[in-house]
């Protein structure tokens, strides 16, 4: 497939991913509402919010970095998404996956948040600053088990290419890394709770202590860009987890089902727990998830 064609498919993919991200977050809001005994917003509420934010005016001046933050955030999300093959074997949906993509993916996962942190800090709002310090320390903590899990998988597949890892899982449900590498899966899925910022690991933007956290000062189109970035980020993460642990997908329907299940996992936990304090969540991630990650790596090493 030619590069321009691939690029076109990728751009369409990005737009679809944003839409899907908004939709899935709408569904999740509905589900959250149901457990709370409510009816909840319509599933398309995310689109209205996005549209509304686009037609708001803004008059906030906090410097260039402040404006760039949502862009970093979106860039991180897009970059992440572009590197992950959605459906391995369908060129239109493989994006720019390449041999070492997993390493770059790990980097992009950090990049967005770092850029965001840089910009939000520029706003000068103490809530932003506190939120950022909390977010970054928590992120560092959950990156560790996740990285360990990835290392275990890569070592097992013998490649840092996501496509290779997907290919290695073909041949039935029991070949999925979820079952073949349960310890790595535990480490990664616990880290996923932290990544998705649902309770008990949502101290970053805890409205009860630091209203809205890092995005406190953002509004209008900046916030809408952030929303878009976040939804694509979420979709990318879900696809990544699907590729890494659920054996990838062979068609789009499979993608929908698997990603929803992955997303739902964080809500399943998040809806019923209060949140941890920062140091408690760090201690949590550096506890059992890291042990599981280390064990997974060791197990793979021993098996080779």
């Amino acid at each position: 497939m030619s590069f321009p064609l691939k690029l076109m498919w990728s751009v369409i993919g990005i737009l679809v991913a944003i839409a899907y991200g908004l939709l899935i977050s709408g569904i999740i809001r509905k589900v959250m509402a149901r457990i709370q005994g409510r009816i909840g917003p319509p599933v398309y509420q995310g689109f209205i919010d996005l549209g509304k934010l686009l037609v708001l005016r803004t008059a906030t001046h906090h410097g260039v970095m402040f404006y760039l933050a949502p862009i970093f955030r979106a860039a991180g999300g897009i970059g992440l998404y572009l590197l992950i093959p959605v459906v391995v074997g369908v060129p239109a949906l493989e994006n720019f996956s390449f041999t070492g993509d997993l390493l770059l993916v790990m980097y992009f996962m950090f990049f967005g948040s770092l850029g965001m942190a840089l910009g939000a800090a520029e706003s000068g709002h103490p809530h932003s600053s506190i939120g950022i310090s909390r977010g970054l320390s928590q992120m560092t903590a959950f990156e560790l088990p996740f990285a360990l899990a990835v290392v275990a998988l890569a070592a097992s597949a013998g490649s840092f290419s996501i496509s290779d890892i997907v290919m290695a899982q073909q041949g039935g449900i029991l070949h999925w890394n979820l079952f073949t590498h349960p310890l790595a899966a535990i480490a990664a899925f616990l880290a996923f709770l932290g990544m998705n910022m649902y309770a008990p690991f949502n101290i970053v933007g805890a409205p009860q202590e630091i209203p809205a956290g890092p995005p406190t000062e953002f509004n209008s189109s900046f916030l809408s860009l952030m929303m878009a970035g976040r939804s694509i980020f979420a979709v990318a993460k879900m696809v990544l987890f699907m590729d890494l642990f659920l054996g990838g997908a062979t068609n789009l329907l499979e993608v929908l089902v698997k990603t929803f299940l992955i997303y739902f996992w964080s809500v399943f936990v998040g809806a019923v727990f209060p949140r941890f304090r920062t140091e408690q969540s760090i201690r949590f991630f550096l506890g059992w998830p890291t042990v599981a990650g280390v064990a997974a790596v060791l197990l793979v090493m021993l098996n080779r």
Binding site: A33, R34, I35, G37, I39, F268, A271, V272
Partner: protein, 590 residues
């Protein structure tokens, strides 16, 4: 972190599969509870515009606004509620003396304009006007005191044995409690012919300032002690508290205040300009209207002489009211005040036509308040028989201290206060008394209390009884023959008329038939050139708004002039004449 504490919270997901708690919005908002306190509603027909709702509102959310002309018993004002102030406490509803104000159970009202949240319930149309539910006045929870402090009275058996005053009067404590029931609405002021400052003196009594109360009372009534005992109390009939409870005992409170002081001249310190210095006024007839004129003119420097045909002034209040209701001492106390103000009295002197002409020439003004002195006849065969006597004559004889003989059995014809008085006097004279009245008890013009008292004293009342004739019996008694009547509603809105049921005759053998069916004017003594000018075709006198007749300088008032024929109206007439005379004098000064 035990496993239990990790697993247990997930049970919350059970809620996700049950029905949500959310109230659906289809079909509009939920109706408020049956006694919800929502927007106000008001039955404007029932509302009397007393403003008590406005007075109790701590937020000053209620304005009284004129929507109709005031009439007696209704100020014409209606509450207008400002929902920028209202706190929905419903005190206004719970206090509402007429029970007209209520609240609907509707509660939704959003608007972009802040100025729209005001309306007059019941007048400005609102969707919730016909709301059946909502907060309403409820029997059993009153924010005003509906129960009058009972007045002490002599025991009925004891009463018939004595001429002592039946009503004992309030103690200080009782008066304060009774006065505190007032809500200061002022409806009574409109009803009182003299427009006495009723809420003001009640307020003074409540606050323990009896001297001030007396000052306020005397401000426009020179015979309040009399009024405090025998007034017809138009004020109490419109009292807002009286709509659902007992009206304020306005009469008894006035009586209480005036009885507190023996020397009224010390308490009252009139502060008036002595415009009448050097002018003379003659008053013909020492009744309430004449005495009113005499007092208020005297304190303004006029030289006033009162001419009275009887040996005592007081007019009908002297000769027409039994002493057990209005003792002589009370009357004398008030006459003493007049004397201290410089009023001269000429007693036992009946003015004739020539003298009147002379008076008009010699005085700056002449006030004539001679009352209605000619009793109405029974207008039935036998009315001229001896033993058929007018009630007024009997009352006068009694009050002048003459011997009155009513025999052992008496029938009194009529249903007014005079009839009741005559019957109660007869009881005290030892007779068995029957009152025969054409209509029903509810139609009797007499005070309800008087009727009750009379019945308690053993007076029998026969209603719907039309006298047919009176016949003398052989043993020197009288046979009073009457026929029963039925009440016929002839015209819508008018009171029903009694219609004789033909062919039935009842007999009552009595010693005296006392006729108390009203009095008419007796102005035959007037010179024709004056009476032609001032009398109307019924023989009553007509006056203008200053109280003056068509004859320059001749003022008139009292029962001769008004059609209500009670003491307080006579006082009001007197005040009108005072106004007229003083204004005229002022004009002459200028």
């Amino acid at each position: 972190m035990s496993l239990k504490y990790t697993i247990a919270p997930f049970s919350a997901w059970l809620q996700a599969v049950s029905k949500p708690f959310t109230v659906p919005v289809t079909g509009g908002p939920r109706p408020g509870a049956p006694r919800y306190r929502g927007w106000h509603i008001n039955d404007v027909e029932k509302c009397i515009g007393c403003g008590t709702c406005s007075a109790i509102c701590q937020n000053e959310a209620i304005d009284m606004v004129p929507v109709d002309d005031p009439v007696v018993g209704d100020s014409g004002l209606r509450p207008k509620i400002d929902y920028g102030r209202c706190c929905w406490c419903a005190l206004c509803v719970d206090v509402c003396p007429s029970g007209s104000l209520g609240m609907s159970n509707e509660y939704v009202w959003a608007d972009t304009d802040a100025d729209v949240f005001r309306y007059i319930p019941g007048v400005d149309e609102k969707p919730w006007d016909d709301s059946e539910l909502g907060w309403r006045r409820e029997e059993g929870f009153e924010l005003v005191d509906h129960d009058r402090v009972p007045m002490g009275m002599l025991d009925p058996d004891e009463r018939t044995q004595t001429w002592a005053e039946v009503v004992i009067g309030y103690t200080e404590e009782q008066a304060r409690v009774e006065a505190s029931r007032c809500v200061d609405c002022g409806l009574c002021v409109a009803a009182c012919p003299a427009h006495m400052h009723i809420p003001d003196y009640i307020g003074a009594i409540r606050d323990g300032d009896d001297a001030r109360a007396v000052q306020i009372i005397y401000d426009n009534n020179a015979m309040p002690e009399m009024c405090g005992k025998v007034c017809t109390r138009r004020c109490e009939s419109v009292c807002s508290i009286g709509v659902q409870g007992d009206p304020l005992a306005i009469r008894w409170l006035k009586r209480y205040a005036t009885e507190r002081f023996d020397n009224l001249a010390e308490v009252l310190q009139p502060q008036v300009e002595r415009v009448g210095e050097g002018r003379t006024v003659a008053v013909i007839g020492g009744g309430p209207s004449g005495l009113t004129v005499a007092y208020y003119l005297a304190i303004r420097g006029f030289e006033v002489t009162v001419h009275e045909a009887l040996p005592q002034v007081g007019g009908a209040t002297f000769f027409g009211i039994p002493r057990y209701r209005f003792p002589m001492s009370s009357l004398e106390k008030q006459v003493d005040l007049l004397k201290s103000a410089g009023v001269k009295f000429v007693l036992n002197h009946r003015v004739d036509g020539d003298e009147l002409t002379r008076m008009l020439a010699e005085n700056d003004a002449v006030f004539m308040g001679v009352g209605l002195m000619k009793p109405m006849a029974l207008r039935a065969p036998g009315e001229d028989l001896p033993g058929v006597i007018p009630a007024l004559d009997m009352l006068r004889e009694q009050n002048l201290g003459h011997e009155v003989d009513v025999g052992e059995k008496v029938v009194v014809v009529g249903g007014g206060n005079v009839a009741i008085d005559a019957s109660r006097i007869s009881r005290r004279l030892g007779a068995e008394v029957t009152i025969a009245y054409r209509r029903r008890v509810v139609d009797m013009p007499a005070d309800d209390e008087e009727i009750e008292d009379a019945e308690a004293e053993g007076v029998e009342i026969v209603t719907q009884a039309i006298p047919l004739r009176v016949e003398a019996t052989e043993d020197g008694k009288l046979d009073f023959v009457w026929g029963p009547a039925e009440m016929v509603q002839e015209e819508e809105g008018k009171r029903p008329r009694p219609k004789l049921i033909e062919g039935v005759e009842n007999h009552l053998v009595v010693d005296r038939v006392i006729v108390a069916i009203g009095q008419g004017p007796d102005l035959d003594w007037l010179p024709t050139e004056i009476s032609e000018k001032i009398c109307n075709k019924w023989g009553y006198i007509e006056v203008d708004e200053t109280g003056m007749t068509a004859v320059e300088g001749l003022y008139a008032g009292g029962d001769l002039v008004n059609d209500t024929a009670d003491a307080i109206s006579a006082i009001a007439d007197g005040l009108r004449a005072v106004n007229g005379i003083v204004d005229k004098t002022r004009a002459q000064h200028v």
